[in-house]
């Protein structure tokens, strides 16, 4: 098998005069096209000889065979089939100086290129629709939940955004360039001017490499974000598995007499107790657990839930939920803390139980605590409280219902985001 040589394709596949000129120049240096690819072509070495290359439009649908009758007819005239370009064009070459040019009827040749131009026009429209769909998908992922900063940190929204951006920067301009080249060819032939086979062409086209690599990288990120990272966490675990920070304790908020509620699924308990004594069973307490999740822009996210025994005399459900985020930088930290505090203040309207007519939320911002952001909010006439803090790249949000006051535990709240 002959040794293969690779060269980066410096021209657009539809810039026919440039493509033919480049292939002819390479052939003069003794490299003959073996396989055409938009990014790089493969060549085999041979004796340097003047070689004519011609590109012919020929749209092929999926696994349709190459048109053998066409290739045979061309061969009869001295033109050998070399390769195909993107199922839409065929490349022929000849070293026979007497071989006639492929076309002598410009009107007919123009009709053939015009078919390809119409197909490129459709591709343009499809790419416009695809780009708009990607943009809509990104906007929905980013803003649909009402927490854009959280969506940016913990969903695939940023990857979708990059996909949309990539599409705007590369896919659409590439489509328009293809269409521009094909329109120029069609118009030239319609005007009765034969196609040029010799022109100047660029030495390289770096944007093509980026345009090919960017979607591959983004697809990898998408797969990592959607299918690989979720496997690295997500299950409920006992509180002692939490190793990234020391959480604010429900016992310290509730004070003396606090009793933690153990809530274990009865089925789980009975199935486990048949095998091991209760004291040795590693069970999951769904009233007191922690859960770690990993995301692209938030490699470490913890949810910590602590629950106390319900005191039926005052009807208050003692419960605290902590959401803790470790971001890759500090840029999103304060916006995320603010957003999470706002979200926490809206939550009880929809899903939290209340025994009396709730009053308004009052929020105290506490800039003097040595953090970038710390605020505590309380709803008048209810046991609902929330706090959020940010320091450097760490963010914490606490939602609490109980008898204590979050405002009395600012140091512990701040300590959760000051840890390194």
């Amino acid at each position: 098998m002959s040794k293969l040589y690779f060269r980066v394709t410096p021209v657009n596949r539809y810039d026919i005069p440039a493509l033919e000129s480049w292939l002819e120049d390479i052939a003069r240096r003794g490299l003959f096209l073996k396989k055409f690819r938009p990014l790089f072509c493969t060549f085999v070495k041979g004796t340097p000889r003047p070689t004519r290359y011609r590109v012919e439009p020929h749209k092929r649908i999926l696994d349709e065979d190459l048109p053998q009758s066409m290739l045979e007819l061309y061969r009869d005239f001295g033109w050998d089939y070399v390769d195909e370009i993107s199922n839409s064009m065929l490349i022929f070459s000849t070293q026979d100086l007497a071989a006639p040019e492929l076309h002598s009827d410009l009107e007919l040749q123009g009709e053939q290129w015009n078919k390809l131009r119409r197909s490129a026009l459709w591709s343009c429209w499809i790419n416009v629709i695809l780009t708009l769909a990607l943009l809509a998908l990104f906007l929905y992922a980013e803003f649909g939940s009402g927490s854009p900063v959280l969506a940016l940190a913990t969903t695939t929204a940023p990857v979708l955004g990059l996909f949309a951006l990539c599409s705007f920067l590369f896919l659409l301009p590439d489509s328009f360039t293809d269409l521009r080249h094909l329109t120029a060819i069609t118009r030239q032939l319609e005007a009765g001017i034969p196609l040029d086979h010799r022109t100047v062409y660029p030495k390289r086209r770096p944007q093509t490499v980026i345009a090919f690599l960017a979607p591959a990288v983004l697809l990898t990120l998408m797969i990592a974000a959607d299918w690989i990272l979720p496997l690295a966490g997500g299950q409920m675990e006992p509180l002692d598995r939490l190793d990234s920070f020391t959480p604010l304790s429900l016992a310290s908020l509730e004070g003396e007499g606090f009793q933690s509620a153990t809530r274990v699924s009865p089925e789980y308990q009975s199935s486990q107790s048949q095998v091991l004594p209760r004291s040795e069973t590693r069970y999951v307490d769904y009233g007191n657990f922690c859960r770690r999740e990993r995301h692209l822009l938030c490699p470490n996210q913890w949810q910590v839930v602590q629950t106390g025994e319900q005191d039926l005399s005052d009807g208050i459900w003692v419960r605290m939920e902590i959401m803790w985020y470790d971001l890759p930088g500090s840029l999103l930290a304060v916006p995320l803390a603010r957003e999470q505090l706002d979200a926490a203040m809206e939550l009880d309207d929809g899903i939290w139980w209340t025994s009396q007519q709730p009053g308004p939320w009052t929020t105290d911002y506490l800039p003097e605590t040595g953090t970038d952001f710390l605020a505590v909010a309380r709803r008048t006439g209810t046991p609902f409280q929330a706090a959020a803090a940010a320091s450097g790249d760490k963010v914490v949000m606490v939602r609490y219902t109980g008898h204590g006051e979050l405002a009395d535990h600012l140091d512990e709240i701040a300590a959760m985001v000051r840890c390194r």
Binding site: R54, M70, E72, L73, Y74, F77, E101, H103, S104, D105
Partner: protein, 103 residues
């Protein structure tokens, strides 16, 4: 005038139809006929010839009669003959008009 869908035939189209008047022909024979007939003025490239043969087959003006290895032979159909006559009449009228004005 050519048919409404096709319009007037181009010169290569006209000569390719003409090549089938006396006998069935394959691709290279058509090219030789056209080149001889026009004394080298019209040379058919394989691209033009292939496109024309495919187009004429689609329109039912010619049909394939024999495939012998790589050699494919075609003949003119009744519709093709009518199209040729129509174009011939159009060209005659053009020439007549031109000569009348030149007198």
């Amino acid at each position: 005038m050519g048919s409404k869908e096709r319009g007037p035939l181009t010169e290569p189209m006209f000569y390719v139809l003409m090549s089938f008047l006396r006998r069935d022909m394959c691709g290279t024979e058509i090219t030789e006929f056209v080149e001889q007939k026009t004394r080298g003025r019209v040379r058919l490239g394989p691209g033009t010839l292939y496109t024309l043969l495919a187009k004429f087959q689609d329109e039912g003006l010619i049909e394939e009669t024999k495939v012998d290895g790589r050699k494919r032979t075609y003949r003119l159909t009744g519709k093709g003959w009518a199209a040729y006559r129509e174009e011939l009449d159009r060209l005659r009228a053009c020439v007549a008009d031109g000569e009348e004005e030149a007198r």
